[in-house]
């Protein structure tokens, strides 16, 4: 969101005590928790007020009308580019929650950006699927503290390995099992979700109907 109107407010500096070495240095030093900026303008510059349109456009990406729960999407970028997935819901961050289903095409419950997706006009009934427990906190790398390696540690291999938690596996099944029964009702739907999308020489996406 664009910052508040008016001039930049004067900085309030908070200090923290930092331990320092050296016998004659007093043991601790007051260090500002946030470093002062290396540059600020010589004259106070008024902050631009956002226009009404700018102010209204803040927030989460608006979901395209063509994307509704159950829509088959074609992923255009990322690890699973070219695959077809089923859309479940839009997460609070604006990203889309999709699933392969995993047993069909190997795509798990995953977040996907709306901008890198083609929405087809085909859809699957997802009323039997309960995706309410999934939010942005469910996804993403947790505990990603990269401690700086020193000395011999540079040569040591990364100890952390991402193990798939049991919770993820059960959640995947909980979502996919009811979804599979609906998918199997439509002939060729499972095969369709398994197949990859690609363009052949004479196809032009702007002239194609999805």
């Amino acid at each position: 969101c664009p910052p508040q109107t008016g001039l930049l407010s004067p900085m309030t500096v908070t200090f923290a005590k930092k331990e320092i070495g050296g016998a004659k240095n007093g043991g601790t030093r007051d260090v500002p928790t946030k470093k002062a900026p290396t540059y600020y303008p010589a004259e106070d510059v008024p902050v631009k007020a956002p226009s009404e349109r700018e102010a209204k456009s803040c927030g989460v990406a608006k979901l395209r009308k063509s994307i509704t729960p159950g829509t088959v999407l074609i992923l255009l970028a990322g690890r699973f580019r070219g695959r077809r997935v089923v859309f479940l819901k839009q997460l609070p961050s604006g990203l889309l929650l999709v699933t392969g289903p995993y047993q069909v095409n190997g795509i798990p419950l995953r977040r996907v950006n709306q901008a890198y997706v083609i929405a087809t006009s085909t859809s699957v009934n997802v009323q039997s699927v309960d995706a309410s427990k999934f939010g942005d906190e469910y996804f993403g790398n947790k505990n990603k503290s990269k401690a700086k390696k020193k000395g011999d540690d540079f040569l040591a291999a990364d100890e952390e390995k991402n193990e798939l938690s049991e919770e993820r596996k059960t959640d995947q099944l909980a979502v996919d099992t009811p979804l599979m029964t609906t998918i199997e009702q439509t002939p060729l739907m499972a095969k369709y979700l398994k197949a990859r999308f690609s363009l052949s020489k004479k196809q032009a996406p702007h002239a194609m109907k999805f």
């Binding site: 088959v72 085909t122 060729l188 739907m189 095969k191 369709y192 109907k209």
Partner: protein, 151 residues
């Protein structure tokens, strides 16, 4: 015009011409044509008058093909095999009745040309899932053909 043959023949221009010319489709009143350029592309129309060397007056009839009465450049139309017994500047109602009695639309849809255009339209309208189904169907057909050839 004086007959160029020594024997009496019906002195219609076309009867004379058909003997000496390879052309079968003429720009004439009543000729059904396909519009291939402009907002009415892909629609049938009937020539009901000739404006000059490059333009003809055309009518759908509007009630059947959706083409309104208008002047159309000859270069924008393609003549078909069908001809209707329309009089000069035939009124649209009369033209419509002629079209229905001759079942021009039925003949057109059954013709190879008409079928080709219809298929092209259908192919453009397929969505992603339908394209996938068509792909599978073509594979099946190809496999069936190969099996038949093998026998």
């Amino acid at each position: 015009p004086p007959s160029i043959f020594g024997v009496f023949r019906p002195a219609t221009r076309l009867a004379l011409l058909s003997r000496s010319m390879p052309f079968k489709r003429f720009v004439e009143v009543g000729r059904v044509a396909l519009i291939c350029y402009g907002p009415d592309t892909g629609k049938l129309c009937t020539i009901i008058n000739v404006v000059d060397q490059s333009r003809v007056l055309v009518d759908g009839p509007e009630g059947i093909t959706g083409v309104r009465r208008q002047a159309v450049n000859i270069k924008r139309i393609m003549l078909t095999d069908y001809k209707v017994d329309a009089i000069l500047n035939c009124p649209e109602k009369k033209l419509k009745a002629l079209f229905e009695s001759e079942d021009i639309m039925g003949k057109w849809k059954a013709s190879n040309w008409g079928k080709k255009l219809e298929n092209r339209k259908l192919r453009l309208a397929t969505n992603d899932f339908e394209r996938f189904q068509v792909m599978l169907a073509r594979k099946e057909r190809s496999a069936a053909r190969k099996a038949a050839m093998g026998e």
